[in-house]
């Protein structure tokens, strides 16, 4: 499974939404109204399930999903 697929799957489960509702070119805020508290859940899930540790504010609900995937990919490569 590609990192993009893993991120999609993780977001679907964490945010309790269908994969088809996730739009790569939109922010999670614009597409789903995800708030900053939900982003904390996403950050914890990324650490627990993908082993990607992110600092506070490193990913936000205003970044596009494509940008978030790119950050996760770069962290995974390290």
């Amino acid at each position: 499974m590609s990192i993009k697929d893993e991120v999609f799957s993780l977001l679907g489960e964490t945010l309790d939404v269908g994969i088809e509702e996730l739009k790569e070119d939109k922010s999670l805020y614009d597409s789903l109204g995800v708030d900053s508290t939900e982003m904390v859940e996403v950050r914890i899930a990324l650490k627990k399930k993908l082993g990607v540790e992110l600092k506070d504010g490193e990913i936000t609900n205003k970044q596009t999903l494509r940008e978030i995937i790119s950050i996760v990919e770069s962290k995974k490569r390290l």
């Binding site: 309790d16 939404v17 508290t37 939900e38």
Partner: protein, 410 residues
């Protein structure tokens, strides 16, 4: 005299999740109390309760939101949704800055708190949901309702044990009178059937321990009563001025006419043996509403079902009404499903309004032998037909918080 109309009803209870089901089940005059089996309660002194079933089936709330809130907020959201629909409140047509939410609660949302705190101690700080901070506290449902609907008006949550939602309803009605808001969602919610909340409620010591016979356990004013039975649920009513209701083309169910309240100022848990404070609240309510004692048709009783609690309530009523009490129908219909603590008065109000609508007095079930020390017969066991135009609702919180509401049929 207050002139606040009740135009919508939403109810989540152990005997129904809609107004119609709730009323149809109450008319059966049977108990909806059962053994608690959603967790191992076998070592609790009281392990019976009125429990809400199939909330998820009826709920219009998204699973994404449900997993971020405690069940007491979930029940309050569903009850609010029902009340708004029942009142035919078109949310696109009203100024949301003029809508307030006034809710009562006693314990907070412990199911969410218990499981998340367990996970934090087991897994460290990342084991706990970031929603814990906003899920457990008593005002959380008020916040969730305002966020869900975008209501921005003056809103409050009241925590006063079993008198909480009575005070919340009065506070909401008064806020309309004071022109702070045009519409109010008022009521309460309680979810005490969790391992820790049940433990707290047991510590209080007023719960029935008749675990072997749940259906017979809650028996207010009966000689063999041994305490009340816990229940969960939520009740919400829509309040507005009569002029507002008429301009919307809505016929109100009833009017909130007055309130009386007092504190015993005696002990942190026990009510004062001197019933003067409760009598003062009843007299204040009558005075506030402008009704005299001859006008009252029905009194919805607090019915704590403890030896002392019922004795004191009966004593206060006899002292205030004297022989006139014989002409008033009295009952504690909550004996059918349990006591919802901070949400109970909202259900008592809904029951009283539906009784007015149907010209029926719901009974106190399990009343088999009259207690000579109480000396009242609170409509035993079967429904009676009676026109109810004016009614009082009595709520008593732990330590002697007294709230009495006066309601008049529209």
């Amino acid at each position: 005299m207050l002139d606040i109309a009740v135009t919508g009803i939403g109810v989540i209870s152990p005997c129904g999740l809609k107004k119609e089901t709730f009323w149809a089940n109450l008319k059966k005059c049977q108990s909806f109390v059962d053994e608690i089996n959603r967790f191992d309660a076998s070592l609790y002194p009281s392990r019976i309760a009125g429990q809400v079933h199939q909330l998820d089936v009826y709920s219009p709330i998204s699973s994404r939101l449900v997993k971020r809130i405690d069940i007491f907020s979930h029940m309050a959201l569903v009850a609010s949704n029902e009340a708004i629909t029942d009142a035919k409140l078109n949310l696109d047509d009203i100024d949301k800055k003029r809508v307030g939410v006034f809710m009562g609660n006693a314990l907070g949302g412990w199911l969410f708190a218990e499981t998340e705190l367990r996970d934090m101690y087991m897994e460290g700080r990342e084991g706990i949901s970031p929603y814990m901070a906003s899920a457990w506290f008593p005002a959380a449902p008020q916040g969730q309702i305002t966020i869900y609907y975008g209501f921005k008006g003056y809103s409050k949550t009241v925590v006063s044990d079993r008198a909480s939602s009575g005070l919340a309803i009065w506070y909401g009605a008064k806020s309309i009178c004071d022109d702070k808001v045009d519409f109010v969602l008022a009521g309460g919610m309680e979810a005490p059937i969790t391992p820790y909340a049940l433990l707290c409620a047991n510590t209080y010591g007023s719960l029935s321990k008749n675990n072997s016979n749940p259906k017979k356990a809650y028996r207010p004013f009966d000689l063999y009563r041994d305490g009340f039975v816990l229940a969960e649920g939520s009740g919400v009513v829509i309040l507005e001025k009569i002029e507002t209701a008429i301009s919307r083309g809505i016929k109100p169910y009833a009017f909130i006419r007055g309130v009386g309240y007092s504190c015993d100022g005696y002990h942190r848990l026990r009510a004062s043996l001197d019933t003067g404070s409760l009598e003062f609240a009843i007299e204040e309510c009558l005075s506030d509403s402008g009704f005299n004692k001859d006008n009252i048709d029905y009194i919805c009783l607090d019915g704590e079902a403890t030896v002392i609690g019922d004795f004191l309530e009966a004593k206060a009523l006899k002292n205030v009404f004297g022989k006139k009490l014989n002409d008033i129908s009295l009952s504690a219909p909550k004996s059918m499903f349990g006591n919802l603590l901070g949400a109970q008065t909202s259900l008592d109000l809904i029951i009283t309004i539906l009784s007015m609508q149907n010209s029926l007095v719901l009974p106190t079930i399990n009343f088999e032998e009259k207690d000579p020390y109480c000396g009242i017969e609170p409509t035993p066991n079967i429904v009676i037909r009676r026109e109810i135009n004016k009614a009082l609702i009595i709520s008593r919180g732990r330590g002697g918080i007294n709230v009495v509401l006066c309601v008049e049929k529209a």
